[in-house]
Symmetry: C2
Subunit: 187 residues, 2 copies
């Protein structure tokens, strides 16, 4: 149904808790639409995350890891969940160092985006970093990672081969190409 | 923990169903890691979706709609869930026409990406379309949308203002800028 802007609202009538996990919470909301009808909304609550497009010269730092929802490994930019109360920029610096062993003199905020606003409130705070210096590698205990560095051409090869196949990393590759073409980050 | 590639696996020991919704399913997996330890993985199963970067001349078609997980409206590119057994390209053509009223002579597959591979298997099949022709507007019954067309500059204004703030739409804006800068889609 097309609508004027005044019809673009939903009113929460109720919210049924379904699952309270270590990372996600799931709830089933009942909403009233602007035509008076009701609908159900299945919603995943997530603590939010950070991701870092980190460049060493003309190479992008990426980590390969197993992703249980996909049943296989993927090559992604460094990323991780926000700790409770943690500042996103500090979390980005922490995840970058934990997963790659590098520190960034500056983290440039490129965007903060919702990964899947139809059913989840997960937000990723997305930063770019250059001129990295050596720090200390320290991944989480239940996280096995392999760190590598790739060129822009290699990144597109990985995309075509399906080894890079997640939203934040694709977005990072596009942002990096824009940076190379224009000399500026897309902001 | 850093690791060689031979350590990048997880073996599923068990999977506990949590929620079987109309759109998502939630399960709690127990996995064995390569060091012999066990971990829990909270997983959301999703039917998959399609999204279309649709251009009318130098303008991008976008729809504003209420997103209950965020509690507000967002401006996004046309998108929607796959029906069971539906071909992604046909779904993209269907969603484009339902939400915008336009048909595309060709849908160019830009990528298929996972929105949040840490906890969900949702995949978005992402297409570009140009040279649109008039079709029939027909959104879903519980979907209120407002269709508009925006320039690339307006898209970046919406990003800076937080009105465009989801992964697929940001990615579309970046892909569109690359198209403008290079004359080619990023493939």
């Amino acid at each position: 149904m097309e609508a004027g802007k005044e019809k673009l609202w939903e009113k929460t009538l109720g919210s049924q808790p379904i699952f309270d996990g270590k990372i996600i919470k799931v709830q089933l909301d009942t909403v009233e639409l602007s035509d008076g009808s009701q609908a159900k909304r299945e919603i995943v609550r997530h603590p939010g995350a950070v991701a870092v497009l980190a460049l060493r010269g003309d190479k992008l730092l990426v980590v390969e890891q197993f992703r249980q929802p996909l049943g296989r490994t993927e090559i992604e930019i460094p990323a991780g969940k926000l700790e409770p109360g943690e500042d996103p920029r500090e979390a980005a610096a922490r995840e970058l160092e934990e997963e790659t062993g590098y520190q960034a003199p500056e983290l440039i905020h490129l965007s903060s985006f919702y990964t899947s606003p139809g059913f989840a409130d997960e937000i990723i705070h997305f930063y770019a970093a250059e001129n990295l210096t050596e720090g200390t590698l320290n991944p989480d205990d239940d996280e096995f990672l392999e760190l590598t560095e790739i060129t822009l051409d290699e990144a597109f090869e990985h995309i075509r081969a399906g080894r890079i196949s997640d939203a934040k990393t694709l977005m990072a590759v596009y942002a990096w190409q824009i940076r190379q073409l224009t000399g500026k980050w897309p902001l």
